[in-house]
Symmetry: C2
Subunit: 205 residues, 2 copies
DNA sequence: CCTACCGATCGGTAGG
DNA sequence: CCTACCGATCGGTAGG
C-alpha cells in the first residue's frame, strides 16, 4: 500500500468532483447543486463526496474558485502577451466572447459567475462575499486596461474606466442571456457590435 | 354564511400569497421559494397555500405573472402618455431606473426577472418558457420604440432597434448587479451615463 | 381553509 | 473511500 499514490488519487478524485460540480452548478446554480446528485453522477457515496470538502458551503467555494481559475486562464491568459492598453483590452474582450460561445462543455448552463452573482446577490455569507470579490477584481482589471488605453491616447481623453468596465459587464450579461435563454445565433454578432461602439473596435478585421 | 364573501376572501388570500411569493422569490429565486416557507411567513398551513395553485410550478407561474404586471405598470405604464418614439423611450428608461432603485419593498432581492432569467435559462419547462416569452415581449416593445424614434429622425438613420434593445437589457442587468451585489451608490449615475451614450439623452435636465 | 400524513431528498455524522 | 443512519424539510395528498 502506497500512501503517496493514495494522496494523489484522492486529489484526482477531488478534481473530478469539482469539475463536475462546475457543470452542474452552471445549470442548477450553486444552491441547486446537491451532494446526492454529485455522488450519483460520479458513482460515489454522499459521504465520499462530502469528505473532500467538509460542508456544502466549502464545496460551493471550491467550485467557484476553480471556475474562477478557468475563466482567468481562458479569458485573461490568452491576452497576456498583448501590449497593455487597447490591444490587450480588445484581446480580452474577444477571448471573452469566445469563452461564452465555446466553453459549453465546461459550463453547459452558461457562465457560472453570472448565475452565482444573481443567485447570491441578495443573500449574505462567504459564498456571496467570494462572488462579489471576484467581480470586483475582474472589474478593476478591466478598468485598469481601459485607463492605460486612455492614457496613451487609444481611447478618447475623457474616458471613464469604471464606466466602460460597467458597460462591458452589462454587454456580456446580455450576451450570455441571448445564448442561454434565446439560443440566438446572432448573439455574438450583436456583442461584437456593442463592443465596437464601446471601444471603437474595427469591425472588418 | 355568504358564499360571495368567501370567494372574495379566498381571492384576497391568494393575492397575499402571491405578493409575498414575489418578495421571497426575488431573494431566494423561484426554485428557492418553498411552500413551507410561505405558509410559515403567512401563518397558514402548507395545504392552505398550495390549495390556491395546485402545484409549486403553478405558484411559480402565478408569481411571475404578477411580477410582470407590476413591471409593466411601473415601467411602461408611467411612460404611456408620452409621444411614441424617443420621448416615450426616454420616459421608459427613466422609469426603469426608478423601478430598480425604488421598488425594494416589492422586490427586496432585486428585479425578479433578472433572477428568474438566469435561474431558468439552462432548464426546460413551462417556467423557463414563460420567462423567455416575457423577455421577448419586452425586447420587442423596446425595439419598436427605438424604430419609431429612428424613423422620425430622433435617432441616427443607421440605428438598429434590436441592437439598442439588446444593449439596454445589458445596461439594466449590470445596474441591477451594482445595486444588489455591490450596493454601489453611484449605480444610478452610471446607468444614466450609459443611457446617455446609447440614446443621446440630455444629462443636464 | 385545517390536521395528519406520504415517500423522497436534503446536509451532515458515526464508525470503520 | 464505504454503509448506515440522523433530524429536517421538500412537494404533494387524503379527508374533512
Amino acid at each position: 500500500m502506497s500512501p503517496r499514490k493514495s494522496v494523489a488519487e484522492a486529489r484526482r478524485t477531488r478534481e473530478r468532483i469539482v469539475e463536475h460540480a462546475i457543470a452542474v452548478a452552471s445549470v442548477e446554480g450553486l444552491e441547486g447543486l446537491t451532494i446526492g446528485r454529485l455522488a450519483t453522477d460520479l458513482g460515489m457515496s454522499k459521504a465520499g463526496v462530502l469528505g473532500h470538502f467538509g460542508t456544502k458551503e466549502a464545496l460551493q467555494l471550491a467550485t467557484l474558485d476553480e471556475a474562477s481559475a478557468i475563466f482567468a486562464r481562458t479569458v485573461w491568459g490568452r491576452a497576456q502577451h498583448e501590449e497593455p492598453g487597447l490591444p490587450r483590452l480588445r484581446a480580452v474582450c474577444d477571448a471573452w466572447i469566445a469563452y461564452v460561445e465555446t466553453e459549453r462543455e465546461v459550463f453547459p448552463g452558461g457562465c457560472l459567475f453570472t448565475t452565482a452573482a444573481v443567485e447570491f446577490d441578495a443573500r449574505s455569507g462567504p459564498v456571496r462575499d467570494a462572488v462579489a470579490r471576484m467581480y470586483r477584481v475582474w472589474r478593476r482589471r478591466l478598468a485598469g486596461e481601459v485607463r492605460v488605453a486612455a492614457d496613451c491616447g487609444d481611447l478618447p481623453a475623457g474616458t471613464d474606466p469604471d464606466q466602460i468596465a460597467y458597460e462591458l459587464t452589462g454587454l456580456y450579461m446580455a450576451f450570455n442571456q441571448d445564448i442561454q435563454l434565446f439560443a440566438d445565433p446572432a448573439a455574438a454578432e450583436r456583442a461584437r457590435r456593442a463592443l465596437a461602439r464601446l471601444l471603437g473596435q474595427d469591425l472588418t478585421r
